[in-house]
Amino acid sequence: MKVLELKQSLPAGLDYWEIKQQENREQMVFFLDGNMTSNNRSSSLGIMCRAYKDGVWGLASSALGDSATLSRICGKAASNAALLAKHRAGKQFLLPSNPAQGEYLFYTRKEPWSFAQRRDFLLELDNYLKTKYPGLSSRQVGIRQDETEKHIITSDGGDMHVMIPRSFLYLLMVDSGPDGPVQSYRALGGFGQFEDIYSDPKEVYEEIEKIYRETQDMKEAVYARAGSFDCVLDARLAGILAHEAIGHTTEADFVLGGSIAGDYLNQPVASDLVSLIDIANTYDNTLCPVPVFIDDEGTLAEDCVIIDKGILKSYMHNKESAAMLDMQLTGNARGHNFDDEPLIRMRNTMIVPGKDKLAEMIASIEDGYYLVESSNGQADATSEFMFGISLGYEVKNGKLGKAIKSTTMSGVAFDLLKTVTMVSDDMYWTGSGMCGKKQSIQVGMGGPAIKCRVNLGGK
């Protein structure tokens, strides 16, 4: 992205403004049964100005990046705010400020791979699948890399230039079971460009074997029983629990919109084994899947401890919500495309690992389930949540049994978290997620395995 000089077009007379130049880039290459079904590249570049005046916002954007257009959209943003202010009767707030400046460009330091090298990497994996598991009825391998580059300046001194890449390797196996097709799927990878994560297809063989085993387990899968059970949620599920079940209810715009979390600040909402944090960028000295150093309002991004040993401690904020609730800024304002307004978005939401061992947790279940993989999830202002469960196993007398067919898990998060009796000492990050809240945006989520009581759909 050719970085523009944004400062030349500063609008005057506004209470606050920000100007953003952003480019999103994506590459997708997929093979299905050896045929290249996707060979796509896309990019989207543009500029946006958002202006705050008299308690309302005006925004304007354009894909054009010349200085005349920049001046025009800045003027349009200001006039939009002025137009809206005529119809606004609500209270006005002085927006808080904690500006930061910095450049965070995470281009690979390795020799970038050509498209042909990526293609050959996938073809080698595809050939491995075809040769090793000839009985599969279908197989799919693919790479998706997305890059988000932003240059933002704000009227209160925020100034950032960032390029965050994510790269994923997708593996799908379809086999025929007695009841028809069964499939298992995995998205591997996370933060970084492809060369930062992979160098040799053989590094993936072990994971491929696990996916194949899961596919075979699914052939013999039985229906889960409908009802409430003691379950162990694998670490692969902890992230979506943190994000969907709790995280959304504690985004301050949800709180202002009536979320149940608004009633629980500084109250116990979970077992004291549970601590939950929205990490800005770094956990355990390692960059998280979606590192955020400065948010789209130019605010310094800081970790937000949402639940500390079972007590609800804080919410995630942008400038407006922090002003309305008189709380500290957290740096959670993010927009996905160049023309998107920053919304309160989670960054890397995680449950803090505990001290238990996964094997002991499973052994402690008399009659329940070990739930491993989720297909999707949804949240509610009441903290009632739903996850699709695409992989799970029966547990009887502490031993794993048959796989279960796809089902749905649900619960009220602030009730469920009070039933947590064990938390494992491991940690698993998921970086391939996209959270849909008006705009779809990259999020990280993670955590350990958890033993708790949940509702399952089934027979």
């Binding site: 093979f31 299905l32 050896g34 045929n35 290249m36 079904t37 060979n39 796509n40 590249r41 896309s42 990019s43 570049l45 543009g46 309302v56 916002w57 005006g58 925004l59 304007a60 954007s61 894909a63 054009l64 349009k76 606004r88 009767a89 609500g90 498209f115 042909a116 293609r119 073809l123 279908s138 028809g180 097709p181 069964v182 229906y223 409908a226 009802g227 919109g257 009536g258 009633d263 309305m324 023309d339 307004e341 989720s374 297909s375 509610d380 202002a381 009441t382 009632e384 996850f387 695409s390 067919k405 796809s406 089902t407 749905t408 649900s410 619960g411 509702n455 759909g457 089934g458 027979k459």
Partner: protein, 428 residues
């Protein structure tokens, strides 16, 4: 637009493409947002999308950009042709055959911003006056979009349209109790009617207040489920994609890969794609391949009539491609009113919103019943909480009891309520 598209087709062919497709779209959107019950944000967006598609020696690549200066175009062409060169051949790649050029114009091309503000203010005032315990956000926008689609076989379609879009999300909080959140939306060619009077907006908002006091169902049971129109639309779309779409057929997860003209579902089920239905605001005029879209029953009287697939999927599977997508789906209304349906239900759930994961390839699925009601002996007993409905989607479409006479038009689908039997309903 014509000049850019023609020039790009020529340049792709000159750069070695055997076949080429160009799609060029320019859009202007004005979006007014009510946040925390007040007008808060006005967005004015100008966007561009240019998609280039090339095939050479049976290799295919696609490049999509939003910059149209000469340097960006040249870079895109060079990169695209390199991607084509590095691709893998598949004789199934192809583009649409020649058809007569066509042009379509639809809807209000210019926004009436005063009317948007007026309709939103009216909605906000009514919410505050009549539903003081309801928290809500809402947005209303106007989009004006121009698209030119050309390919090297001579396809040339011009499309220009304008439409309004409304959405609102709401939850109620009263006496320390709160409801689940719910939402409604529609796309419309004009703003003739207040938002509250379109589809079931007022009824959903009325319901949200009583949903602050939900109850658990008394016991697990097997019963009937009445799916609200938005829920039915989502499930029908999922069913079609899961078994009759490109991905399902090519990756062999479809249970019905060779079942054209076979009866798969209840004879009560007819699902039609109506791309240019005058009743729907969000029309589509061409398929993704560029063929003019036409009305097509995908399922008629329970029989599968067409696989809504692309040229590529058709060539891969040996089936005919379709002149429709699985969009703008319509199910005709039945003869029974929703109230009568409820009266006729011994034990069941009126499912107003569903929160679910993808069904298994066999169709098994479970959904959390949101904003929904327990029905016993023909009467609504209570709003429910923590209630799960487990069923098989294919069996559900074979166990249809009836469709309601009421329909809802979201501007992209028209659906009635549907009742089916045999669902397992369980609580916490």
């Amino acid at each position: 637009m014509e000049h850019i598209c023609k020039q790009l087709i020529d340049r792709l062919l000159k750069n070695g493409a055997d076949k080429a497709v160009v799609s060029f779209n320019q859009t202007e959107t004005s979006e007014f947002n009510l946040i925390y019950k007040e007008l808060n944000l006005l967005r004015s967006l100008e966007s561009t999308r240019l998609s280039l598609f090339a095939i050479k020696d049976n290799k295919r690549a696609i490049k999509s950009i939003n910059q149209i200066d000469e340097a960006s175009l040249e870079e895109a062409i060079t990169e695209l042709m390199q991607s084509v060169k590095d691709g893998n051949p598949d004789p199934a790649f192809d583009i649409a055959d020649y058809q007569e050029p066509a042009a379509f114009t639809d809807g209000a091309l210019e926004p009436d911003n005063d009317l948007i503000v007026s309709r939103l203010s009216e909605f906000s005032s009514e919410m505050k006056a009549h539903f003081p315990f309801v928290h809500f956000d809402a947005s209303m926008s106007h989009t004006h979009s121009k698209t030119r689609f050309m390919n090297s076989n001579g396809i040339d379609v011009t499309m220009e349209r304008g439409y309004y879009e409304f959405s609102t999300m709401f939850t109620a909080k009263k006496d320390g109790k709160m409801s689940s959140m719910n939402y409604t939306y529609f796309q419309a060619p004009n703003l003739d009617k207040p938002c509250m009077e379109i589809n079931q907006s007022r009824e959903l908002i009325r319901q949200i207040v009583e949903q602050t006091h939900p109850d658990t169902i008394p016991q697990k049971f097997v019963g009937e489920v009445i799916l609200a129109p938005f829920v039915l639309g989502g499930l029908v779309h999922t069913l079609i994609q899961s078994h009759f779409g490109d991905g399902a057929l090519i990756s062999k997860v479809s249970l019905y890969p060779d079942h054209l003209n076979q009866k798969l579902f209840s004879e009560k089920l007819t699902v039609t794609s109506r791309p240019r239905d005058p009743k729907q605001a969000m029309k589509y005029f061409i398929t993704n391949d560029g063929y003019l879209a036409s009305e097509q029953a995908i399922i008629e009287d329970g029989e599968l009539k067409v696989y809504p697939i692309s040229i590529y999927a058709a060539n891969k599977t040996g089936k005919p491609f379709a002149h429709c997508h699985s969009n703008n789906l319509v199910i005709e209304p039945g003869e029974i009113a929703l109230a009568e349906m409820i009266k006729d239900t011994k034990e069941g759930i009126l499912c107003m919103r569903a929160s679910y994961g993808s069904p298994s390839p066999q169709g098994d699925m479970s959904t959390v019943a949101k904003n929904s009601y327990y029905i016993k002996d023909g009467k609504i007993v209570c709003p429910v909480k923590e209630t799960m409905i487990s069923f098989n989607l294919i069996e559900a479409m074979n166990n249809i009891v009836d469709f309601s006479s009421e329909t809802h038009n979201a501007g992209e689908m028209i659906m009635p309520y549907m009742r089916f039997s045999g669902a397992i309903v369980s609580g916490a």
